[in-house]
Symmetry: C2
Subunit: 351 residues, 2 copies
């Protein structure tokens, strides 16, 4: 794994981003931002499921002004997502947004961008330059390859912000296509010092979209690229947060909640591994501390993998060996597998 690219430090509200800070997990509300109660409620759900920075759409003045009331009721840093109308950025800043996301594909006027940057600088508020492959202006380098157009659009916007002495900058270059996204981030990573926010845009429903996001974001993180991530899925935003943490956990970059090691089951298994793993997983749902639990169906990899876990079971015919931190702590009969495993987990948390 490539060592992490060290970017310039930023603060989004109280959350450090860049310069080696833990990779922050973001999501976005799917409520109508003008429905303040519903938006606050969803942000609280996001906070509970581990989201660290939340973004809200700001399609009009009422939504921008609503940020003031929303922010008073939540503890996550709040980013205002702005398209088309620079006045919405100014109103969001006035309402107390902790960050702005601007899409340079649809706010073109330099004087307008300068007004936003001036107001953001005054308040020390970072701006994410968020380019999407789907919203590049058609007349911007129309004959260049898509990746170059994305990168050049970011560089042009950065150049202008820097000319205004504004450098509280974060950058994203999202596309649905994974190789396009990876190439765009790789190119920009070498050209600018700012933190990068990763995502695969419009990745779809969770079953396929989680996989697409894991491949794209995972490859970039493995290359040391990325300071914050958002998984975009067509579902409740807490699933985005779950997927984000699973990507980070799989590369050892963050820890959160249980990790279940379980064998796929095969014709060798003498117990119903799938049901047992599902039951164990259900019991682990409320655990937020990192713990590695192994459910193994036979002796082939069972003891080996189970030993590596905090708690594990390697099942044989009618009975199983319970492991704890590498040591067998008991043999249990099949009807007690779940109970014995959960008792060990509970005692681990008590110790």
């Amino acid at each position: 794994m490539t060592s992490r690219r060290i970017s310039t430090p930023l603060k989004i509200g109280g959350v450090a981003v860049g310069a080696g800070a833990p990779i922050a997990v973001q999501s976005m509300t799917k409520t109508d931002t003008r429905d303040i109660a519903a938006t606050i409620n969803q942000i609280k759900e996001l906070e509970d499921c581990g989201c660290e920075i939340v973004r809200v759409a700001v399609p009009d003045k009422e939504a921008a002004e609503g940020i003031s009331a929303i922010r008073k009721s939540i503890s996550l840093p709040l980013i205002a997502d702005i398209h088309f109308d620079y006045r919405l950025a100014l109103a969001a800043l006035q309402a107390g947004a902790d960050g702005l996301r601007l899409n340079p594909g649809n706010i073109h006027d330099k004087a307008q961008i300068a007004r936003i940057a001036g107001a953001a600088k005054e308040r020390g508020i970072p701006i994410r330059i968020g380019v999407n492959a789907g919203s590049l202006p058609p007349n911007f380098e129309p004959d260049a390859p898509l990746v170059s157009r994305m990168v050049d659009m970011v560089l042009e916007e950065i150049g202008f912000l820097e000319s205004l002495d504004f450098n509280l900058i974060k950058v994203s270059l999202k596309a649905f296509d994974v190789p396009t996204t990876i190439q765009a981030y790789q190119l920009i990573a070498d050209k600018i010092p700012y933190p990068l926010h990763l995502g695969i845009t419009e990745a779809g429903l969770p079953r396929a979209g989680a996989i697409r996001s894991a491949v794209g974001i995972g490859i970039l993180l493995y290359q040391g690229i990325g300071d914050t991530i958002r998984v975009s899925l067509t579902t409740h935003p807490c699933e985005e947060v779950f997927v984000a943490y699973e990507i980070l956990k799989s590369l050892g970059l963050r820890q959160r909640g249980p990790t279940l090691v379980s064998c796929p089951s095969c014709g060798r298994a003498e117990v119903d591994v799938i049901s047992l793993a599902e039951s164990v997983n259900k019991h682990l749902q409320k655990v937020t501390k990192p713990i590695k639990v192994a459910v193994m169906g036979c002796v082939v990899n069972g003891p080996g993998e189970a030993k590596d876990a905090d708690i594990g079971i390697a099942c044989g015919k009618g009975k199983g060996a319970i492991f704890r931190k590498g040591k067998v702590v008991g043999m249990v009969s099949e009807e007690n597998f779940l109970e014995a495993l959960m008792a060990e987990i509970d005692s681990l948390f008590r110790s």
Copy 2:
């Protein structure tokens, strides 16, 4: 994306593996192999969902002999998964297995391995040397790092097979830990010419295991490594096949069935994007031809992404624009979104 590592060619039954052949999707039955009817039934399900090579556990003589009857009723190449007892490998070959998987961690005796290799060579049957981090013999290089132990175990086994003039070899080095797995494959890829079978072992239940598998397998594929893949999930094996294809599709390495581009929805959406995307997805379930369908909730990225799709809809307030191969083919009102989109998809298949 790194260009693909070119490995030596193999044939597993009728399926070409290595030497630039399409990356083959494998899975494994979870039935008791001795239950021939259930095993045949699950293999037929796997064939229907796109599996290209299937493996069955061979825990005893009855299972090995069952391969003969199973193979007569299926059309997928069948690999026998062997641990501990070399006689089961010989029996599986005799019963007509198209490939063997041997775990060098638990068949140590050189004379036994030589007997297997001799019988496999006689029939032209490939052997996968399948090392798992969880089943390395404790006395094999006990003080070396895990990755070196995995790689050295493979190299030792290959050296012995080559000394017998046996080279119908495929290799896997699976671990639950993603960076360990990646490092092991990277090391072996430079040292041997044989095809590599990728997987993250014991990846767990599908929600988290698909993500872990996508990160690990995706990173290796992006580096040009991998000739066949198997996603190991604690669930029905067809979900393993689905995840495998989604990983391959996200990197443009294979195409199969629909790809749904859909926005995550946000406070800007004026229609229920999540429900619409779910309905469209449900209608697309039976499609196996590659088709890219976009469901976008607003005008920000909507038209841009929808234009890139075979068929797309960019929704606005109460109405939406239907795109086909980059051209607007109609405006529809909200109550007709699904019907209009499906009609366009059907007409695309007719054309």
